[in-house]
């Protein structure tokens, strides 16, 4: 962890108490999805420079904190079980299987030879198969690696994405289709996080059959440097993709796209909004109870909610280092930040800081 960040975290820890401080309300709102756990789990950076995965309980207390050897990025809850999986940040050499109620580590599964994970994964509806995007780094090939949780997370299959830079993966409400953000950026562990192919990127939103690995659809953004990293899907099957633009800062292209009824279209939120987002979106979440979609940009320090039908921005807030977004029961969203803050946002109401912990939340809460 860079010293700058560590120093800031230390200051934050010293300035505040170690406990959560509330303003506005005393408990975290429930999740929009009633089937999963009601607590929130995320990868965290600690004030002393170490890393962990941590969970916040519905009463606002830190439920558990499970140390990991390197920074993690995102993960997923295993349906019908008390397991949560978290992936090391790209290039991720392992994922961790934790008890979601206690944080006790159950497994640490290393990436296969010649591959690394990219920070995301999703389970099949029955909780058996884990689909993890990965990079086969010598040839630079994006794949979805399939693990069987009922066989101690043995690797059981590999699906080819026919592209570079797989990132977030989610499951369509049909239970059969995997939705993958293919960022298009070639990296190699020997070269750290250097982007090796900015001139020839081919990002895409990819739809894949989770049983056969057959690619069902591939949709390209309007510019080749619109790295398609993050994705979400609404209950009606509308798919959203969020971009991170790799071109010059003064270009302000659309950063969000929607696939619905066979059409892939980009949503223009307006040049001034794209500027506030810093050409970068870290998370996108479509609310399952309404037409709202929320995005967060740590680069721009901006989180906003827009209407998925009209593209109109419904709410916007300045939140330093914000990145994670979760849908809350009742129609609001929760945004997490690298400053340890959890902030509630909803249409027609000011953003409210719910809690602060002396940790840095990494990009995604699950």
């Amino acid at each position: 962890m860079p010293e700058l960040t560590r120093r800031r975290l230390m200051k934050a820890a010293l300035a505040g108490s170690a406990a959560i401080t509330f303003s506005g309300c005393s408990v975290l709102p429930g999740r929009a999805n009633p089937h999963g756990p009601q607590h929130y789990t995320g990868a965290i950076g600690l004030p002393d420079g170490r890393f962990a995965v941590g969970a916040v309980a519905p009463d606002g207390s830190l439920l558990w904190q499970s140390p990991v050897s390197t920074r993690c990025h995102s993960g997923c809850n295993r349906p019908k079980t008390a397991e949560v999986v978290f992936f090391e940040r790209r290039p991720g050499w392992a994922f961790y299987v934790l008890n979601s109620k206690t944080g006790v580590r159950l497994h640490r599964i290393e990436a296969a030879e010649g591959e690394h994970f990219v920070g995301h994964g999703i389970f099949s509806p029955d909780g058996r198969f884990l689909y993890a995007p990965a990079n086969r780094y010598e040839p630079g090939e994006g794949i979805v690696a399939v693990y069987d949780s009922q066989r101690s997370y043995q690797r059981v299959n590999t699906f080819e994405l026919n592209g570079i830079g797989a990132h977030q993966i989610i499951l369509h409400p049909d239970g059969q289709t995997l939705i993958v953000g293919l960022g298009g950026i070639l990296t190699h562990p020997d070269y750290g996080r250097i982007k090796l192919n900015l001139d020839t990127m081919e990002p895409a939103l990819v739809l894949m059959d989770r049983h056969s690995g057959q690619i069902l659809g591939r949709f390209r953004p309007s510019r080749h440097q619109l790295s398609t990293r993050h994705v979400d899907v609404a209950p009606d099957g509308s798919i959203y993709a969020a971009y991170q633009y790799q071109g010059p800062a003064h270009h302000l292209p659309p950063l969000v796209a929607r696939y619905r009824n066979g059409h892939y279209e980009e949503i223009d939120l307006g040049v001034s909004v794209h500027q506030e987002l810093g050409n970068y979106i870290a998370s996108i979440v479509a609310h399952p109870e309404n037409d709202l979609v929320a995005i967060a940009s740590p680069v721009g320090g901006t989180a906003l909610i827009f209407n998925s039908r009209t593209g109109e921005v419904a709410e916007k807030a300045s939140i330093e280092d914000c990145a994670g977004v979760e849908a809350l029961a009742g129609g609001d969203f929760m945004v997490s930040s690298g400053r340890g803050k959890l902030i509630r946002m909803g249409k027609g109401r000011p953003a409210i800081e719910i809690a602060t912990l002396p940790v840095s939340w990494d990009h995604h809460l699950v």
Partner: protein
């Protein structure tokens, strides 16, 4: 934009003066004025890099035509001059230098897997001619100053029968230095052409300040603290520094400090003063001056300084001033201007 509702006890952020707001002390100053000066100052730096790189390429060719020990030393000096010119503009991490990864082409570092040496050995193994295309296709570990440094300074390599002025090594040196010179010309021209977009777009103020913050943090953390054993395992190791083969790690640090003094601070000081932060501007400048004042005394290879506690103290003093400058710039000035470098905002995922 709606403001967050934040309880009083948590309202710890400093009262920041947004960069796009009117300047408190100088209401006539426009943010574009600062960028116009930055553009001009950085252009000077890139033009110097272009000129020094061309001198290096010409000197490499001259040496390889008529090799001599004096010519070898002249080539080493030309490498060092060009490398230091790069260090002065190394903090600029946006704009034309990002096109085609020119920044990584100039200097691939850190090189934890010693790719530079591995690639050099691979390229020099056979008798296949080394062409400009060879360099273009061989990746960033081959294309810049570290590869030329390996050929000119690596002790083991220089004892081998493949060492300069052997034909193959000369071919590699000439091609690599030509590549550097071409890139120097490209980035200088492209930065010149970038003027309108840079000056007219407000986001480049923020990006320029962030670039300086990232540059000084890299200097403090990776280029000084890491080899000095102040981070990680606590073990001192010159191999964690950049330019250890040439012994130029410390003078390169000085060049970066000078680059910040000459290409960043003039406009930034003005901006801070216009935002009622004149004292902060003075204190940052003082710390950079103090760090620079350690030279030329500290213009020595870092390795021996790491093994001698007495000498190590001189380096510690440099580190303290760089660290202070970093705190003033990245914490205090950034906060005063409403700039955030966070856990996620620099992550790229």
């Amino acid at each position: 934009m709606k403001q967050l509702t934040i309880s009083v006890c948590l309202a710890s952020t400093l009262a920041a003066a947004p960069l796009m707001a009117a300047d408190a002390n100088n209401p006539e100053a426009q943010p574009a004025d600062y960028r116009a000066q930055w553009h001009s100052d950085i252009l000077t730096g890139y033009q110097n890099l272009e000129a020094r790189s061309q001198t290096l390429a010409a000197q490499a060719e001259t040496y390889c035509k008529t090799p001599s020990s004096e010519g070898f030393e002249q080539t080493q000096r030309a490498w060092r001059d060009a490398f230091l010119a790069w260090q002065r503009v190394r903090f600029v991490n946006f704009g034309p230098v990002k096109r085609g990864n020119l920044d990584w082409q100039f200097q691939f570092w850190p090189d934890s897997k010693n790719l530079v040496a591995r690639k050099a050995k691979f390229l020099l193994k056979g008798n296949t001619a080394i062409t400009p295309e060879t360099i273009t296709e061989s990746g960033v570990a081959v294309q810049g100053f570290p590869m030329a440094e390996y050929l000119l300074y690596d002790q083991d390599f220089n004892k081998s029968d493949k060492a300069l002025p052997a034909e193959h090594a000369c071919q590699l040196l000439i091609r690599v230095t030509d590549h550097i010179a071409n890139n120097g010309e490209t980035v200088a021209n492209a930065w010149g052409d970038f003027q309108k977009n840079y000056v007219e777009n407000d986001q480049y103020t923020d990006l320029t300040i962030r670039a300086a913050m990232a540059g000084i943090e890299l200097l403090e953390e990776r280029r000084l603290a890491q080899p000095m054993g102040l981070r990680g395992t606590g073990k001192r190791s010159v191999y964690s520094a950049d330019a250890w083969r040439s012994g130029a790690s410390l003078i390169a640090a000085d060049a970066t400090i000078q680059g910040l003094q000459q290409q960043f601070m003039p406009a930034f000081s003005r901006l801070l003063k216009d935002h009622e932060q004149a004292d902060l501007a003075r204190r940052i400048a003082e710390q950079l001056d103090e760090a620079h004042a350690k030279f030329p005394e500290l213009d020595r290879p870092m390795g021996p300084l790491l093994t001698n506690d007495e000498e190590f103290r001189a380096m510690q003093s440099l580190y303290v001033h760089v660290s202070q400058a970093n705190v003033l710039l990245s914490d205090q000035a950034a906060a005063a201007l409403g700039i955030v470098r966070g856990f996620n905002s620099t992550d790229g995922d």
